[in-house]
């Protein structure tokens, strides 16, 4: 019950200024509008002095009921909505949905489309990790890296704009392949970007990775053991930072990932710096994949022939892909009609966020930012 002077929070009485009666603890709200949460995430934190005693994420501020919306959209239409979940991996979200529909239709994808898809995925991964790198450094008070990261990311968005027609929500993957063929400039521009990016990534390491202040704030902070990473369902760089093998591209290869050479990056420390290093090293691996494929795009169709109205057979279909944040699963239940009966997305951000309390309880409030930043949360991905 809310009165003028008391707010009831979890059955504990707090005064308006947040102090908990008689315990010396106080409750503060980080978010929903807070620069450190990168979106409308609301963390209710119980503090004793500066030590975090309890942390509770409150979700739902940007819930758009995408799963429910998809039930009224056809199998062609629902894909564009998923760009709005994890908007930094929108290509990869679209890819996952397209793969699920193709699985239901038992459609063969032309090799050219497969390679284009993988190229786009890896470019998206680099762009996403770049943005994370800039935002991460900004969380810790460094402003310059943000501009450097956006400078290189801009090159990727330009390439995307030229080939896909949009910069963020591309809607380029369609059931059966990709929407249109790559732009004639695509290969040249990607190669230019790769050359540029390789020199810039050393700059990133000089500027941030090697920085002593940065390292002191990241090392030993936000520890997550391999067992905990598994039990919280963490995937992606968060799990790999704790030494858990979880790269879907390796474990359950899709498209041409089983034909290209790349390493799954594992760090064993499980702290914030390990997760940071995983992402930095992953960018190198993405570059490696792109280098192998960019000159070897097979000739042929970029889209398989599909019917105008797609109907999935009765049944359940599930596929998973590796987004920049971890494992994204798309689960479709079909009744045989033109729209899905039920769609469920298993988003990586939600599970990764659930480990946050475990990682920060007992540490200082400042370490929360250093930990949360390395989870690389995208809030619309968590709320959907």
């Amino acid at each position: 019950m809310y009165t003028e002077t008391q707010i009831v929070h979890n059955n504990t009485k707090t005064t308006v200024d947040g102090a908990l009666d008689g315990t010396g603890e106080m409750v503060i709200n980080v978010g929903p509008q807070h620069p450190a949460t990168h979106g409308v995430l609301h963390l209710v934190i119980t503090l004793n002095g500066e030590t975090i005693k309890k942390l509770e994420p409150h979700l739902g501020y940007i819930h758009r009921s995408i799963e429910k919306m998809c039930e009224s959209l056809s199998y062609r239409q629902f894909i564009y909505v998923t760009s709005r979940m994890d908007y930094l991996s929108s290509h990869i979200n679209n890819h996952a949905c397209a793969l699920t529909v193709e699985k239901g239709l038992q459609l063969e994808i032309p090799p050219r489309a497969q390679v284009i898809r993988v190229l786009m995925d890896e470019l998206t991964r680099i762009a996403s990790h770049e943005l994370w790198w800039g935002a991460m450094a900004m969380d810790l008070g460094a402003f310059t890296p943000f501009f450097y990261a956006f400078r290189e990311r801009e090159t990727i968005t330009d390439i995307m704009e030229e080939t896909c027609g949009a910069r963020l929500t591309m809607n380029y993957m369609v059931p059966g392949g990709v929407m249109y063929d790559i732009h004639p400039n695509f290969q040249r521009r990607v190669k230019d970007f790769i050359t540029l990016f390789k020199s810039k990534i050393d700059e990133y390491n000089d500027l941030v990775t090697g920085n002593i202040i940065f390292q002191n704030r990241m090392k030993g902070v936000g520890k997550l053991s391999a067992e905990d990473a598994i039990s919280f369902g963490c995937t992606g760089p968060v799990a790999r930072g704790s030494g858990v093998k979880s790269d879907i591209r390796k474990l359950f290869p899709y498209e041409v990932y089983d034909k290209v050479e790349f390493d799954e990056i594992l760090e064993t420390e499980g702290d914030s710096f390990a997760r940071y290093m995983v992402r930095i090293r992953e960018m190198h691996q993405s570059v490696r994949i792109i280098e192998q494929l960019i000159d070897n795009i097979p000739e042929g169709d970029f889209q398989a022939k599909t019917k105008a109205v797609l109907k999935l057979p009765k049944g359940e279909f599930y596929t998973r892909v590796e987004t920049a944040r971890g494992e994204l699963g798309v689960y479709i239940v079909s009744e045989g009609g033109t729209t899905p009966y039920r769609i469920k997305f298993r988003s990586p951000g939600f599970s990764n966020l659930s480990a946050l309390e475990h990682m920060v309880v007992g540490s200082k409030l400042g370490d929360l930012m250093a930990t949360m930043g390395t989870l690389d949360l995208v809030i619309p991905d968590i709320d959907r």
Partner: protein, 158 residues
Amino acid sequence: MFIKEYISDIYHAVKSLLTGMKTTGGYFIRPGEIITQQYPENRADLNLSERFRGEVVMIHDENNEHACTGCTACELACPNATIKIITKFDVSPDGKKKKALDTFVYHLELCTMCNLCVEACPTDAIKMAQNFEHSVYDRSKLTKKLNQPGSKIREGVE
């Protein structure tokens, strides 16, 4: 021993900071690498890719003719009910009634630029334009009629 470690710590710390400063300082003396664009001053030479999706427009040729048959395929393909096709019946000289487009209503405020309508159109009557400056003072201005006044369907388009 302790002193040695202490001094080496300080040395490495200062070195790491200087490495970082060298990077940022480098751009100070190489201003040519700065890529900031001065929008809107550079509007005149702003080059958007021909695939850039800014808004849906209908293609009209010099005779004010379009290729839209009013088949509503785009309306059905649109996930957001952005398009509303209003049809009428044209009476041809030999007295036959034929369905034709009356008004192509396009709600720009609902459009997500997903390109599904353009893909769905069997006669390539619509396309995406590169205009992205859509702000207006009144919401009603965002509802557009895409077929130009007095336009009619091109001969031979079925």
